[in-house]
Symmetry: C2
Subunit: 301 residues, 2 copies
């Protein structure tokens, strides 16, 4: 049974849904203001410093846990359908992950749609990854992570890096990734009644802002169509009550078929990006500890 | 008329009131969890780094605006009746003030009551002030600021420094200060219907945790009983709808009588510590700009 604390995320999502339903013509700026509060349900990690940096032209936020390995880095791409959310809304969540792993995290404020459609997000992510390599961080000391759209972006970032001939990072850790631009997952319907946030009309709006007239099968926008061969180890975490659950399950099948070392944990009764409950609900803290236990040896920690 | 954005603070306070009314036996840890969300209504200042530091044994958070004067410092004491709130809940609010002034801020996580009653808070504040002097920061390059109980503490910190023979800072900037431990202000009743948060029973509970059996007239706990002669310039900002408005007005009379250069702005229709609306409501941004315009020349900026 879900912890009582996990209810906070359901309440948050339901409040958002009510606010958006009450104002169907809500503009993107108002929707962004709503999603700026995503991190309100996250506990403060504590013992983490935050420093803004310009990384190859992309505004970013370093999260630096006290006493961490400075030469190991998590590249973090926040969620929000490529259109909302920021390095601030996800500061604490990625701060928790960095603290658990014992390394630095760099949280990207990549360009958002609709002002900047695909592939601006992928370009920014690859630019920051390359910037880290240019700073002398070894690729096998880097892991990528991200949630929702950022879960796809932390995957496609590696595909983009590969296409540019860059050495690949040690690992990829998507949370509740949103891969499928065609909205074909069976859980979109079967979990619609229990997912408090992600419903098909919202997704269609996000796809439209992100892709415009571009193909929904572009591998960098939809990694379900990508050649996954040779990708580093991947560990996906996803909630059992998510409409996007099938995005993870189908990606795992594809990755396995491509010979990738891929692992996926489904957390029963958990909502989309339940990791936002870090520091508050045991399910999130447990998941983050599992991420840390899995990735530390891969980063040589 | 108050801006529409200012309603967010009223909503927050009313939600807290409802939560506390629904559970009258709520423990201090639960109340702290509620007040941890104070900063949820504050906009992210942006362009400010945050670094935790141990200052003479007191955990603190540096807020460092990009390009600021590193040798000018605001010493910030958060509010919450000396019992709740933290350097995290007030991070963004003090970040806004530091950014407007163009200097660093050090936000104290002083020991809280009831675990640590008065004068632990004053001791911690004076210790951090002395630590800054020991780091080579000049006293005339320091201003103190704080809200509510922290508004009193940023005042009593200077009284405590004076009693220890330390040189005094350049200025004191309390927001909605809570000075009166005896709850004698006329606005406690006359503004009770419009103040969405601060009511007499809450104050009595805070006094009891803070002072126990100690005197409510101790000048370090209640600066209305302090000898204010020789204090640096003081600029108080307070909301017109506050039950604590009289705390400010009476303090100003006392300070004037003692020959202190004191100024007080009352913001019509504003709630307790409306500065939490920084980055969101024009009233808060205007007040903070007024603080900055006033204090910059005093800090040589």
């Amino acid at each position: 049974m879900a912890s009582p604390q996990a209810q906070a995320l359901i309440d948050l999502y339901k409040n958002w849904g009510a606010a958006m339903a009450a104002n169907p013509s809500m503009g993107i700026e108002e929707i962004r203001e709503i999603f700026d509060h995503w991190g309100d349900v996250t506990g403060e990690p504590g013992g983490v410093d935050y420093l803004e940096v310009d990384a190859a032209g992309v505004p970013c936020l370093w999260a630096v846990p006290k006493g961490c390995a400075m030469d190991r880095v998590l590249v973090c791409t926040h969620g929000g359908g490529y259109a909302v959310g920021s390095m601030y809304s996800h500061r604490k969540m990625f701060g928790h992950i960095a603290k658990a792993v014992g390394c630095r995290a760099i949280i990207l404020n990549y360009r958002r749609s609709p002002e900047f459609p695909h592939p601006a997000q992928n370009e920014d992510a690859v630019a920051v990854y390359k910037w880290l390599l240019d700073q002398g961080i070894k690729p096998n000391h880097i892991a990528t992570t991200g949630d929702s759209a950022g879960g796809a972006l932390c995957t496609s970032m590696v595909l983009g890096a590969r296409s540019k001939g860059l050495p690949l990072p040690a690992a990829i850790m998507p949370q509740s990734p949103w891969y499928d631009m065609e909205a074909k997952g069976a859980t979109l319907k079967s979990n619609a009644a229990v997912d408090a946030l992600v419903q098909e009309p919202i997704l269609q709006g996000m796809v439209s802002m992100f892709l415009g007239e571009q193909s929904k099968q572009d591998p960098l926008a939809n990694p379900l169509y990508a050649d996954l061969k040779g990708l580093p180890p991947i560990y996906i975490q996803v909630g059992g009550d998510e409409t996007l659950l099938d995005d993870s399950l189908r990606f795992v099948e594809k990755a396995k078929a491509a010979g990738v070392d891929v692992k996926c944990d489904v957390y029963p009764e958990m909502q989309h990006v339940f990791h936002f409950l870090a520091g508050k609900a045991p399910e999130a803290d447990k998941a983050i500890k599992q991420y840390a236990d899995w990735v530390k040896p891969k980063l040589g920690l």
